[in-house]
Amino acid sequence: MTAKRRGAQLGMLAFAVLIVMGAYASVGLGINGKVPSGMLGYGLGLGGLMLAAYLVLARWAPWADPLLLPLVTLVNGIGLVMIYRIELAGERLASAASQLMWTALGVVMFSATLIALRDHRVLQRLTYTAGFAGLGLLVLPMLPFIGREINGARIWVGVGPFSIQPAEFAKLALVVFFAGYLVAKRDVLALAGRRLLFIDLPRARDLGPIVITWVISLGVLVLQKDLGSSLLLFGAFIVMLYIATQRTSWVLIGILLFIGGAFVAGQIFSHVEARFDVWLHAEDQRLYTAVGGSEQLMQGQFAMGSGGILGTGLGQGYPYRIPLSFSDFIFPAVGEELGLTGLMAILMVYALIVERGLRTALAARDPFTKLLAGGLSFILAWQVFIIVGGVTRLIPLTGLVTPFMSAGGSALLANWMLIALLVRMSDAARRPPPQAIQDEGMTQVMQR
């Protein structure tokens, strides 16, 4: 039924790279009326990288979804352009060259995952290993000597001159663990247990390991003041339980737990309370001028406001006025220069990536693949929701990267790995089933 559609993929990939090169040129024209000299270098660099990724994909996952790679290329490229633009404006910490290098490493990671992992179902055998690995990665920054504290959050591990955020990789490992565990236990989780009021409660021994993992991971994240990641894991946990058991009660329990948790956290931890304050009273003059106050959030809102419907045009706004405009706040920065029209296009691209992931989950033939693909697509969507909701003040701001766009190596590597896993699963799901050879007499021979 499904065709490989390699031509469409290559065409869309070239299209994405061309858009990114156009964006580079537009930045140069907007800032000083010249096409920037580095454009060809960056454009060819990105194009070469994506061609390499395409060749790996065509060789090792020929049936994979044709859209995942081009869509990711576009958001990654727009992020690169934005970081380049903010660097040109004189922001010291933004570095397009280092982001391009991390993108290259991301593509290497993508290729390595595709080549090494020929069949994603081996991950099912590593369920508990993945669970322990995820917890280990989360705890890593708390250890002395290698753990580093940057900007008040102890979520970094120093390796020589680089620092990486192990939590980014931990969430992949934990999703693998949740998927493997839930596949094994979903029937007992859904059917065995008592009914309390109108909610079906599963037996404690079935739920034990997963709740313990979840509590430990959340506890570690709260202690590290990494609110974004804890929210991310919480959502992933609830949604995967829901996918596995098909019980609406889980969503209900999840929302109740979340409201309770947020309330308690707001009472206990001062940094959580501060986030709520900034969210609710961002326009307050006192909060605006306070250290760690609402200045960043309001600058982001001003930027999106001045961008309006059509934006100021690339290179013609003032996105560098937002603190951390190249990482956490890249979304309002893009909003200022491309306007609501551009932001919606980018959100559509994210939505399409997630749609391809969920489609893979639907088309998958075994429950483990379904859960893993559903969980991975969900954490991508949830990540976008948390950060975009945060910067637009729909929900309190929690520091999370915008996938593929924000400056930040670990997140880029982890998200490229996530895409590699989705590509691997879509390859398995779209590959035509082996057909029985007709007229073979009494026994039927299956051919691959």
Partner: protein, 154 residues
């Protein structure tokens, strides 16, 4: 660089960005609405044979899918047999786990349409009874193939 040029570049960039999104949706359209090739080949041959052999009164002219994922699909009947199954070259391509790749065949004979099961795994049903040998199909009697139900209409 004049203001106007910059404005044009800005608008062109946004337009191209959205064109990319639309192109991407175009690539996945087949996923959402099923392959468009299924009814199309049936439509073309209709034009030539129609003047030659006009269907007589009381003869079915259309095959309508009344149940299943393809509900609402209409295939105009001509002299050519209609194949149904999951295979790509079937006239009505089903994406149904319960259908075989070459599931059943409908062909005209002496002014009647005959349904024949092509050795499918889950069988073809004319009304309630399983089709074991080529059987004539009266007008408006449901034929069930997997989750799909089809009928002949005037």
């Amino acid at each position: 660089m004049s203001e106007l040029t910059l404005l044009l570049i800005r608008l062109a960039f946004l337009a191209v960005l959205w064109f990319f999104v639309i192109a991407a949706v175009g690539v996945i359209r087949t996923d959402l609405f099923g392959p468009r090739t299924a009814p199309a080949p049936a439509r073309k041959p209709v034009k030539q044979p129609r003047p030659v052999s006009k269907p007589k009164k009381g003869e079915p002219r259309q095959l309508i899918v009344t149940g299943g994922p393809l509900q609402g699909t209409i295939i105009n009947l001509t002299e050519t047999p209609i194949t149904i199954g999951r295979a790509n070259d079937a006239t009505l391509v089903l994406s149904d786990d319960y259908a075989s790749s070459r599931h059943a065949r409908l062909f005209p004979q002496d002014g009647q349409w005959i349904v024949e099961d092509l050795g499918s795994t889950n069988g073809t049903f004319l009304e309630r009874s399983k089709v074991t040998r080529p059987t004539p199909v009266p007008l408006g009697v449901p034929i069930r193939i997997g989750k799909t139900v089809i009928e002949l209409r005037k």
